[in-house]
Each structure stands twice: as C-alpha cells, then as structure tokens.
C-alpha cells in the first residue's frame, strides 16, 4: 500500500550564535492510512521541529531545511510554493499542539476558530460553517455544542480546549493528523478521554496520525509503529509490540528501563547517566555514544548505518549490528 506521508532523510537545522544546530539530522519514515506512528524522544530530540518542518511552519531563516523529501499525495512538500502549501496545511494535513490555551486565539469564539478553516478550504458560507462547527464539537464530545460554540477559549477547561483543537483539526477531514504531545498538559483522566477520542475518530476516518510524545505509556496505548529519536537522529523503529519486546538500540532499552513501573517494585531505576549532546557539535559517530554503556571505539568516529534485525524493524547501532553477525 502507498504510504499517505513519506519522509525521506529529512535534515533541518537552525543558524544560531553558537553555530549551526542540527535539530533533525536525517530521519525517514512512511505513514500509512489508518495507522498511528509514534515519534518518541526527549527534549531536544528534534521530534517537534520535524513536525513543524512537515507543515512548513518553521521561520526560514533562522531555520533551514537542508535536505530530504516529504512526499504527500504525489508531491514533495519541500518544493511547494507558500500558496500551494496553504492549500494543504489545515486541510489535508492538520496539526494539534501541546498547549491548547496558547494555540487558540483568546479573542475569537470557539466557533469562529473552527469555522475559519472550513470557510477557507471548503468555501462554505458563515452560517453553514457554524453549523459544521456545532457538528464537530458534538463529534468531539462537547456537551451542549450549539451553545458552547459561542464561548471563548477561557470558558473551556483544558480538556475541552484540546477537544476544540481536535474539532478544528478535523474540520476538513484531513488525511494526516500531526499531534504534538496532545495530552501532555492534561490530567491523566482527561488524557484517557482525549486518547480514546483520537482512536475513535481514526477508526472512522482512516486518517494517518503522527503522534509526537515523550510518554512511553501513551506510545504503548496508541501506536502501531514507533520511531525513537535522540539528538536529532533516528535511533530505532519498529512495530509497537516488537519495539517494546525486542528493543535493538541501547538508548531505547535505557528509556524503557528508566520508567518507573506501576506494577512492579524496582529497587533502583536504571537511569541513563549524563545528558544529551549539544546539537551544534558536528558529531562524527553516534550521538548516544558518550552515555552508552556498550559503546565501542567505532561508535565515536563512524555514523552507525541502518540495519534490519527483523522485518519492519530497523536500528542504527554498531554494537547491536555486530551481535547479529
């Protein structure tokens, strides 16, 4: 099956006072319709920058998309003109953000904000667009939608704002939804509601979801495929079951071990010592090498090549690749 979105060797950086920061340094993946791909990483791993580059939302300069392809609907998004990109953004590819308070306009009603995209992309009249906004609010589970559509964002709770954001993202039936930490600012009981809502909508609409998160629990619950990022690089990727059962990168293993478990009592957590490298450094080898318990001399000098431990499972690690030989 043709992927609905295909990112190929994307490299994005920022020109800073301290040099060129390689925020995204060569990531590739395919997203299929009806599938959720989780991109997991910690702060500074490049997961959000990657998402903003897909939608061409980064200000250039200081950002620079160095190379790569983002294939969507037979065209490379990196080659589109701004006007062509506007036809796709919010229409065919939609995005929801982490902080629903700061990403909604406080002086416009919820209805105005949802109908904006519909009026722009589907050329509906204001009245029709408002009807659609009410339908969408109902679909995302807002009680009394025909009254709440006239509310301002501050009259909504955090969970309701995120529902409104989702309504807005869904307004044009996108093929791809990019969700950047959609539940991080929410309480767990509200998080459970929002994740459930995203799953229900996906089942119905068959849209592909790129879910950006740092929470491995959310990954286990939502993802079909997982891609692990660290310091701008892709470390490992596989189907969700395979990745959790059979991680083939020391960073993935470290990440899985450092999470305190709800079900088993660990005496000590296996923390990963140290911290991520500066992105302005031009690293020759693996960015995880300084923190890696199993690093070899080669890891410092040579960039790990992609290897495939199992079908649909890839990893970038010299030590792991050696194990298989």
């Amino acid at each position: 099956m043709e992927p609905v979105l295909s990112v190929q060797d994307l490299r994005v950086g920022f020109h800073t006072e301290r040099g060129f920061a390689r925020a995204v340094d060569g990531i590739s993946y395919d997203l299929h319709a009806g599938e959720t791909l989780a991109i997991v990483g910690e702060s500074g791993s490049g997961k959000s920058v990657h998402a903003l580059s897909v939608l061409r939302l980064l200000p250039e300069p200081p950002a620079e998309i160095v190379s790569g392809k983002i294939l969507f609907g037979g065209q490379d998004l990196l080659r589109l003109k701004p006007a062509q990109m506007r036809q796709i953004r919010g229409n065919r590819i939609a995005m929801i953000f982490q902080e629903p308070m700061t990403s909604l306009n406080p002086v416009l009603t919820i209805g105005d904000q949802i109908s904006e995209a519909v009026i722009l992309h589907q050329k509906l009249s204001y009245a029709k667009a408002m009807d659609k906004a009410v339908d969408l609010l109902k679909k995302v589970g807002i009680p009394h939608p025909s009254e709440r559509v006239k509310d301002y964002p501050h009259q909504f709770s955090g969970g309701m704002r995120q529902r409104a954001m989702i309504a807005m993202a869904l307004s044009c039936d996108p093929d791809v939804l990019i969700a950047d930490e959609p539940t991080t600012a929410l309480d767990v009981t509200i998080q459970a509601q929002i994740l459930q809502l995203m799953r229900d909508i996906q089942r119905e609409s068959k849209m592909g979801i790129v879910l950006i998160t740092h929470n491995l629990g959310v990954v286990a619950e939502m993802a079909d495929e997982v891609c692990v990022m660290y310091a701008g690089r892709q470390m490992e990727g596989a189907g969700v079951g395979e990745l959790f059962k059979n991680p083939r990168h020391p960073y993935t293993r470290g990440l899985l071990n450092s999470v305190p478990s709800l079900y088993e009592k660990k005496d000590r957590l296996e923390a990963i010592a140290g911290q991520p490298p500066e992105l302005t450094l031009d690293l020759q080898g693996c960015p995880f090498e300084p923190r890696c318990p199993r690093a070899m001399p080669r890891c410092k000098t040579e960039r790990p090549a992609r290897f495939t431990p199992a079908p649909g499972h890839y990893s970038f690690c010299w030590t792991e690749e050696e194990k298989d030989q």
Binding site: A192, E221, P260, R268
Partner: protein
C-alpha cells in the same frame, strides 16, 4: 472514637487515621489534623463571595524516615496542602504538628528555627532558582540566613553538598542558565538539603524533567533519604513515580482525601472509585497490557472547586454512585489494615463479587 470528637478535630475525615498509625509504634514526625484552607473568592461586583475549599478537612500522619505521597489531579488542593505543611500559608482550621508542636502556634523566631528542619523542593527548576546568583551563592544562602558556620566552613559544606547531589565542583561559579534541567533540579535539591532538614516536601520534583533524567533524580532522592535519614512528603500527580519512592499514599479529590493506605494495598486493591479510575487511566508502557486491559474512562471534567457537588464530590462521575451518595459525604473508614477509603459502595461491591466467585 465518637462522631463528636471527629467534628471537634475539625475534619470531615476524622482523626482516626492518624491515631491508628500512632498505635503501630513510634511518634509521627508530622501529624496533620483536620486541616482546612478556604479562600473567599469574589465572583463579580454584585455577587456574594464564594468559598473555595482548597483543602477541606485533611488528616494524616507521617512517620520519621517515611516517604508519604499525596496524589491528585490539578485543582485537588495538593499544592495548597504543601504550603500549609511548611507554614507558608495559614489554615482556616486544623493543625500541623511537627515533632509534637503545632507549627501555626509558633512565633516568628521559633518558626524560622523550625524551617531549618522543613524544606521544600519545587517542581520547576527553571523558575525556582535566582538567575543572577551563582550555584555557590544559591547554596550558601541558607547558611547565611541561619548564621551557620564561618565563610570557609560554609564553602566546605557547599562543596560536599554539590558532590552528594552529583554536581561537578568545577561548576561552583556557574549560573543556573548554564545547567540543564536535571542539573538545575540537583541544585534545588542541594539547596533544600543544605541545613540537614528532617522533613522535605517535594512538590512534583521530577514532572518537568525528561524520563531518563527523572530516573537519575529519583535515584538521587532515594540515596539521599538513606544517607540523611530524611522524611519525604511527595506531592505528585504521577502514580508510577510515587510507587517507586513512597511507602504510603493519600489520594485527594477536590480538597478531600478519598483514599489512603500502603502503596501496595492502594495500587493493588483500590477501594475508592476515583483511585480505581485514576489508576486505570494511566497508560502503561507495555503494549501487551494495553491491548488486554479494560479502561475506565471517566466522563466529564473535575467539577469547579467553587461549586463542588453535594454529598460525595465524586458522585457525578462515579460509575458506582447510588442515591445516598448525592447527599451523604462519606467519611474515611478503615477497609483493611492501615487502608482507609471514603466510599461506602465500592469496598462492598468488591466484597460481594469476591463472595460470588467463592460461592
């Protein structure tokens, strides 16, 4: 204990829980009795003021060198509680007894001396350190405030603190912005521990940090507790972190403690519907478990603390709710050894279903 004395103690949740823990041996280092903090909130120019019951009758006690957790979602009153425990705020009613003395009856001088023994670690290592002070200044300040040691002694103690908290001494003259989030949290911890406190209140100490860094800080807190014989009160929304560190947990909902017990009992056999739903909502980092388990999804949001539902605050979202829950606020009752829950329905439901299985 009679109903009356429970009322005298100022709490809906009676004093019984603390008395029980007392009975198990030793004196608690911290004893909270019927603690209430109500705020008057004006709702507009012409409306009457409303009462926001941020903390509404909380009682528990913490034993020396214990790690006790207060868990709840936003708006449950856990941070107001933390402030009260340190006398940074004064309660509407109730007492916080630290080593036998009610901290709210102390004068300024006595309170200041007491503060050497009670410290706090904040959530956000970015906003809780003064950006214009070097690490050395930050860590020297507690000694200066309390007039402890000479300059050289202080410097020596600061160096020891830094190495205990995993900070490189070469960075003693650096400013907070030169550190990563995890290292800043280490500075915050070092500052809290500078004066050898007995009790440390940690308000979401790792929730602003990445997972791999979280693990480092949790291990550090655990090591320091053993070395310095610390007592921790953890304020958190995250059961997994708390599970790793704490022996006992109290769960709060809209200003009240709804369940309290030993970590294994409370997580393994929750006796309040809110705890049950909260635990069920946490995504587990294991796709096999995630696929199999049935999840309880609560409907609606947490009600506004200005207008909490009558009776049991949780009843509009509760799947076990009965008519009586709408009017009667259930008190904490002991459902197992050291395990308390403020729900008359769920423990009963669990018992009958277990009995049905046996029968």
């Amino acid at each position: 204990m009679s109903q009356n004395s429970a009322v005298e103690a100022g709490g809906r949740a009676s004093r019984e829980p603390s008395d029980k823990t007392l009975a198990r041996g030793g004196a608690p280092i911290l004893d909270i009795r019927g603690l209430k903090r109500h705020f008057s909130v004006s709702r507009g120019l012409f409306s009457s003021k409303a009462q926001l019951k941020a903390v509404d009758g909380v009682s528990f006690s913490v034993m020396p060198q214990e790690s006790f957790a207060v868990v709840g979602e936003s708006g449950c009153g856990k941070t107001t509680l933390a402030k009260l425990l340190l006398a940074l705020d004064r309660p509407t009613a109730g007492e916080v007894v630290f080593e036998g003395r009610n901290i709210f009856s102390l004068g300024r001088g006595a309170l200041r001396r007491l503060r050497r023994d009670m410290q706090i670690i904040f959530q956000d290592p970015y906003s809780s350190l003064n950006p214009r002070m070097t690490v050395e200044d930050i860590l020297m300040e507690p000694f200066a405030i309390h007039g402890i040691g000479s300059a050289s002694e202080r410097r020596e103690r600061v160096k020891r603190l830094m190495s205990a908290c995993g900070l490189s001494q070469s960075k003693i003259s650096a400013y907070p912005h030169e550190f990563s989030g995890g290292q800043r949290q280490r500075i915050g911890i070092a500052r809290a521990l500078a004066l050898n406190p007995k009790l440390v209140i940690a308000d979401e100490p790792v929730s602003a940090l990445d997972v791999s860094i979280q693990a480092q800080i949790l291990n550090l807190l655990k090591d320091l507790q053993e070395e310095m014989r610390l007592t921790y009160v953890f304020i958190s929304h995250d059961f997994s972190t708390v599970r790793h560190l704490c022996q006992r947990i109290a769960v709060m909902y809209l200003g009240r403690v709804v369940e309290m017990g030993r970590t294994e009992d409370l997580l393994g056999n929750p006796q309040h519907p809110y705890t049950e739903a909260l635990l069920s909502a946490i995504p587990v980092p294991d796709p096999n478990i995630e696929k199999k388990r049935a999840r309880i999804i609560l409907t609606g949001d947490v009600p506004s603390p200005l207008t909490p539902p009558a009776g049991c605050h949780f009843h509009p979202r509760c799947r076990y709710a009965m008519d009586s829950c709408k009017s009667n606020a259930p008190a904490l009752t002991e459902v197992g050894p050291g395990h308390w829950a403020a729900c008359p329905v769920l423990p009963f439901a669990k018992k009958t279903s277990a009995a049905a299985l046996v029968g």
